[in-house]
């Protein structure tokens, strides 16, 4: 029997510095420990079937990440059962928010992501007024040419919104932003931080939400 589930989870501190490739492996082991039998692809070297909606880069935290898993259980499982098994077998760095059974035919998430929301805290002390000025300057610019991996691109159109965080839980100054996340047109929060003239490495980045085209199945 083949079943597909969509898991909404948080990627927390213990897994902050893993790549999305590492995260894939961690999920495989997590599901095996939880006694959830993954389906395997067919072919010369069968691969377990699980799919992250949008790779979360190394160094980022995530509040609502999504992953689809295809299971081959002996008896049909409900989403509550899947959720219970995951919670009963903790994995440091993954917190389950919600598990949902979805149709095998539902389109893959990866193709439908359009944008992502981020909260970025600046770890170095910053004057909020100064920051607010730089934000408006940046938003007023018609283009923001930047270079990444030897390629020049315009960051400005990738920024859908950008504002100061009003109620930061820590005593750090923070920003909130929505960046485009389409294929070939994806904005990176640390690029925005660099464009604002701050140290792009001294930040804590949390992806809070992914946005999709159509209502996803």
């Amino acid at each position: 029997m083949l079943q597909r589930f969509r898991i909404d989870y948080a990627k927390t501190q213990p897994l902050r510095y893993v790549s999305s490739l590492d995260l894939q492996k961690i999920w495989e082991r997590y599901l095996r420990r939880a006694g959830l039998t993954l389906a395997y692809s067919h072919g010369f070297s069968p691969q377990p079937r699980l799919q992250q909606a949008h790779p979360l880069p190394l160094g980022y935290l995530g509040a609502h990440e999504l992953i689809d898993i295809w299971l081959e259980p002996a008896v049909e499982l409900t989403s509550t059962e899947v959720q219970q098994r995951l919670i009963a077998t903790p994995q440091p760095g993954i917190e389950i928010n919600r598990v949902e059974a979805i149709s095998l035919e539902a389109p893959t998430l990866a193709k439908q992501v359009t944008a992502a929301d981020y909260t970025v805290w600046l770890l170095d002390p910053v004057d909020p007024k100064e920051l607010s000025q730089r934000v408006s300057q940046l938003l007023n610019a018609s283009s923001l040419p930047r270079e990444r991996r030897g390629k020049v691109y315009d960051l400005r159109p990738l920024i859908e919104s950008l504002s100061l965080l009003t109620d930061s839980p820590s005593n750090l100054v923070g920003l909130q932003m929505r960046l485009a996340a389409r294929e070939g047109a994806s904005g990176r929060p640390e690029e925005v931080i660099a464009a604002l003239g701050f140290d792009p490495f001294a930040v804590r980045i949390l992806r809070t939400r992914l946005h999709f085209h159509a209502p996803s199945g």
């Binding site: 897994l15 893993v18 082991r29 997590y30 599901l31 420990r33 395997y40 160094g59 490495f201």
Partner: protein, 634 residues
């Protein structure tokens, strides 16, 4: 280095500000599955376990996995892990005055009570000095006082502890499972009486298997060889015999599962310890005797538990010679039943060169098995095989590799060694000839897909082996042999890998070094040598300069034939195998006399008399030496 930060919280803050500036930051944070975090302030004895290389090399180390579990199971002790930072991270840490720290709670290394370092091979030595420096701990044992951690090293390389003796407070010779508890108890007792450091070192002397180098002073002849080893106290045993356990305790089943990719992402279960084959070049084979096996049931139980605790899909069944495990067929049958049910990949390294091995592996071959099969013939002529006591006929090698290709593997890997004692260019050419034959057969069987890889390492004579008296080849000799091999393989399509002859030299200097070698290690480190096990880091020139500064001749250690009655710097350390036995084996090798597996007939290597009490306590077939009857005079 100058330490400017001492609080774990400050280290955490610094890490968050800097980790995105370095490669693979996941190495430096801990927090993995199965990590054990204990309350720092309320746990009496704090131990840091160090693998002196990068995280991804160190995490899978089995010795530290065993100790980590054993220590953390005690309510009165905690163990944390420490690995060396890569140079990008090290530079940042040095610039900011951040000390090296334990991954679990981020406490600086200098705040631990005991630092346990594993030294499985010699090329880690400079990293140990770097570790101390990154912790702000004085490099020399003599310069450390009551407030510094006690530094204890163990592992295969420490069967010759002398090159590292001035830097280490105490060495554990042999197996650590029992002795670790004795050390912790001794430490606790010492602390409760608020003794001096000297007092602690004296108490450590009383633990069998522990070597405290400061109570031994080597004296040299004018030619640089050892005249005598003087003991500065009668409490120091004249010979320190290694520790062995009478029965292997249950294997660790809750290993750390790293969140990032490391060298081995799998469960490792030791099925047997020791080896009875007696290959004369093999250090591990001599120092890990006697052979003790785990039962099939115990192994299966451990596999099941470890799978449950880790979620891994690969299991490696480890030993020095898997084919010699007495229940191997039964084990493979049982394990393969589990494997097919769960998409597991089982690896069973170190198989003998015989068609049975291929049948065994064939049973383990799941859906996702690798397509390569590895064998280690080591030598290609009968004469050479008799010298090293690894008799495998060429015909047998050919039949085995044929079977491998026939069973569907397309890639065969063969490990050979060059630089064996008395080796000629003919012996080297034979490697190429045999290899060509193997590949030709492979192509006949599976066509163009057949491939052959050769791993050709260079022989280094090791202490406590029958070859400890021998010089090793010069780099020029080795290069000449490598050239011959390359020429004879030209156009064959066979891929070949080998070790840089200069790197081999480093291993050779260090493995048979005396205590004066410590100065060379010190100078090499201060000239910037570190990560010597990494090809891109190893710097031959620095080591040559270090020898100059220490006023020692490297050739004395590597290219010198020792006389049969020479006292070696490691003679007061014993793996239980007698020097007289090794000498006999050396003479046998010169005559090409073979010694079969000692399970067929005991050759009195020395293990039984040394451990006869232990053998009596642990009778039974799990231990492969003969039984010792209660009244026997062994």
């Amino acid at each position: 280095m100058n330490i400017r930060v001492t609080e774990p919280q400050e280290i955490e803050v610094w890490l968050e500000n800097n980790l995105m500036r370095v490669q693979k930051p996941g190495r430096y944070v801990g927090g993995e599955l199965n990590q054990v975090v204990k309350e720092w302030s309320s746990t009496p004895v704090k131990v840091a376990l160090v693998f002196p290389d990068l995280y991804e090399i160190g995490v899978p180390n089995l010795a530290l996995t065993i100790l980590y579990e054993a220590i953390n199971q005690r309510p009165d002790a905690l163990a944390e892990r420490v690995y060396l930072p890569a140079t990008d991270m090290e530079d940042l840490m040095r610039a900011a005055g951040i000390p090296i720290y334990g991954l679990e709670t981020k406490h600086p290394l200098g705040q631990f009570d005991i630092i346990g370092i594993t030294l499985p091979y010699e090329t880690l030595y400079t990293n140990v000095l770097n570790l101390f420096d990154l912790a702000g701990i004085p490099l020399l044992a003599a310069e450390r006082h009551e407030n510094h951690p006690v530094i204890i090293a163990g592992g295969h390389a420490t069967f010759n502890p002398e090159p590292m003796a001035p830097f280490i407070d105490a060495f554990v010779i042999g197996e650590g499972e029992e002795v670790i508890h004795e050390i912790l108890n001794t430490y606790k007792a010492w602390r409760s009486r608020s003794g001096s450091r000297e007092d602690l070192l004296y108490s450590l002397l009383e633990i069998p298997g522990v070597y405290v180098p400061r109570f031994y002073i080597p004296h040299y002849h004018s030619d640089g060889t050892i005249q005598s080893i003087e003991r500065t106290t009668n409490f120091a045993p004249a010979t320190v015999y290694k520790r062995v356990v009478g029965r292997l305790p249950a294997p660790p089943t809750r290993p750390i599962v790293p969140s990032i990719d490391v060298v081995h992402n799998r469960i490792a279960i030791e099925i047997m310890r020791g080896c009875t084959r007696g290959c004369r070049f093999c250090h591990a084979g001599m120092v890990t005797r006697p052979v003790r096996e785990r039962s099939v049931e115990e192994i299966l139980h451990a596999i099941r538990q470890a799978l449950q605790n880790t979620g891994y899909e690969e299991v490696a069944l480890l030993s020095l010679s898997s084919s010699d495990y007495s229940q191997i067929t039964h084990l493979v049958e049982r394990v393969s039943q589990e494997a097919t049910q769960q998409h597991l990949v089982i690896s069973l390294p170190s198989l003998r060169i015989e068609t049975v091995s291929v049948e065994l592996m064939d049973r383990l071959k799941g859906k996702r098995q690798s397509n390569s099969f590895t064998l280690a013939p080591e030598a290609a002529t009968d004469r050479m095989r008799a010298v090293i006591n690894k008799p495998i006929e060429t015909q047998q090698l050919l039949e085995t590799t044929q079977a491998i290709y026939k069973h569907g593997w397309t890639k065969v890997k063969l490990y050979f060694m060059i630089g064996h004692p008395t080796e000629t260019l003919e012996d080297v050419r034979a490697i190429a000839e045999v290899s060509r034959q193997v590949l030709a057969e492979g192509r006949r069987i599976v066509g163009r897909r057949a491939s052959l890889h050769l791993g050709v390492s260079t022989f280094v004579p090791k202490p406590h082996t029958p070859f400890q008296w021998l010089p090793c080849d010069t780099p020029e000799q080795i290069q000449a042999k490598q050239r011959v091999l390359l020429e004879s393989l030209k156009g064959s399509g066979i891929k070949i890998n080998w070790t840089d002859p200069k790197e081999t030299l480093l291993e050779a200097w260090l493995s048979r070094g005396d205590r004066r070698m410590a100065e060379v290690i010190y100078h090499a480190w201060s000239l910037g040598a570190k990560f010597d096990a990494w090809q891109d880091h190893f710097d031959y020139q620095k080591w040559m300069m270090a020898f100059q500064r220490a006023n020692l001749d490297p050739a004395f250690y590597t290219h010198r034939q020792r006389s049969l009655d020479e006292t070696f710097p490691w003679d007061h350390i014993s793996p239980g195998v007698r020097k007289a036995y090794l000498k006999q084996e050396y003479l046998n090798s010169l005559q090409g006399v073979l010694r079969p597996d000692c399970r067929l007939r005991c050759f009195a290597c020395g293990i039984l008399p040394t451990y006869k009490e232990l053998r009596r306590q642990y009778p039974g077939p799990h231990w492969k030496c003969p039984e010792v009857p209660v009244h026997a005079r062994a």
